[in-house]
Subunit: 245 residues, 2 copies
DNA sequence: GAGTGGTCTAGACCACCCG
DNA sequence: GGGTGGTCTAGACCACTCG
């Protein structure tokens, strides 16, 4: 280990990325023991034939990811492998269903242009009553209804949104087509009971638990581009996240 | 703006931190317009009288925080201010109650040493049946019961934990006293119904919605130090988080 | 005091984006 | 082609930790 690691310079890929991925592979394939101390940065830099700054950039990324940790004045060490990593990533329904091998489908219940209710307006940075596009859908996973989702999108930013086939792709695909890249979201999660309408749509008894989510989605420049109420069947849905102190 | 920003070198505080906080203040106090383009990095570096690498380090932090964004080949820009920031931080019950001006109290229901159930063992990286400390508590906010929390902690790591006054401080304070700094947690959130026991403890009807959480807490080096089931009153509790694509 | 990570410099060249 | 961010170097000194 840690010998003759000189990289063959690969076209286009930054050195720190190559080093990072190289080390990550060593870690994930178990070639480094838990708690093991790594060589000092200076030495690693020599082995990889890069400057210390570049080496640090690679190490920083791995520390960020939680694979390594540093103790000032002592050294850099392997973390214990944790079960789950990389939560709090924003993924869309089709993407995550595909990863899990689930057959995803969307049925549009409402697609309309309406004046914005107060809460929607304030989330989207609009005046109350400014026009928004409302799209209410039912989501199915392997033909089982799992969520009712109520999207609100500023009409002024996406005047042609309703021309799209909203059952054919995820809403975000269309938002991106119109020039807004989905970047971050802030969401709040609650436990609620299903009312009779939700019960009917989700094929559960009314009164059964619902994981209820309010979410505001922002583009790269911070513009709010979507506000959503999301009602998820309690027995079919959970949310996993990673927190840092 | 952007003139004569030369920093008086302040004792001990790294330059990139001073620059970062300086810019953050400008942003938060509205001295920079939304969407405004910043001067190029080279120029900023000159104004602050540092090298470009140091300037970049400061800017990187602000981009990370979502206050700025970059477009390669074009420039660095102000983001729109977003309502909420800095979620997905791990906070303890007493800390967050204090911030909100809520009077927090903990009542211990169970404090015992037991063989670990399978699920607990696997979360904590133990063999099934290895001893764990189980601490079950009721949390009150302004005398209203809000959560029932069931903690499991490896006995071997904290053999003297039960000597502590567990109602006097948060469990994490004791874990840190014994040498383990709480660093990260991975949690999964579900919607459930209250059973009769929970109903009684939380003073709600059985069948009412519960925001149920399973959480594994890790120390700095990745050692799992706590696994917890957490039952929160649906009408008193929500979780807010920020997601990134 | 030796070992190690944390910060910082003053350059350099490249890749990308725009008019 | 000019402006800009992305990457990289080869040094340097400081701050922290440990024996």
């Amino acid at each position: 280990m840690f010998n003759n690691k000189r990289l063959i310079s690969i076209e286009g890929i930054p050195l720190y990325v190559q080093i990072r991925e190289n080390l990550k592979k060593d870690i994930q394939e178990g070639r480094l023991a838990i708690g093991q101390k790594l060589p000092p940065e200076e030495e690693l830099a020599q082995q990889f034939n890069v400057s210390r700054m570049t080496m640090r950039r690679a190490l920083n990324d791995l520390v960020e990811e939680g694979l390594l940790y540093r103790k000032q004045g002592r050294g850099t060490y392997m973390s214990r492998p944790q079960i789950d990593r990389d939560h709090t990533r924003l993924t869309n329904f089709f993407e995550s269903a595909k990863e899990k091998g689930i057959n995803a489908a969307i049925r549009v219940l409402i697609a309309d242009i309406v004046p914005s209710p107060l809460k929607v307006a304030s989330a989207l940075g609009l005046e109350e009553g400014e026009l928004v596009i409302r799209i209410k859908t039912l989501r199915l996973a392997n033909d089982i209804p799992v969520s009712v989702v109520d999207h609100y999108v500023p009409y002024q930013l996406f005047p042609h949104l309703l021309d799209c086939d909203l059952e054919a792709a995820h809403l975000w695909d269309f938002l991106e087509e119109f020039g807004f890249r989905v970047k971050t979201a802030v969401q709040t999660v609650y436990a609620r009971e299903a009312d009779s309408e939700l019960g009917e749509l989700l094929k559960i008894e009314s009164g059964e638990p619902i994981l209820f989510k309010e979410r505001t989605v922002y583009a790269e420049d911070g513009t709010p581009i979507e506000f959503t109420y999301c009602y998820n069947r309690g027995d079919q849905y959970s949310i996993t996240m990673k927190l840092t102190r």
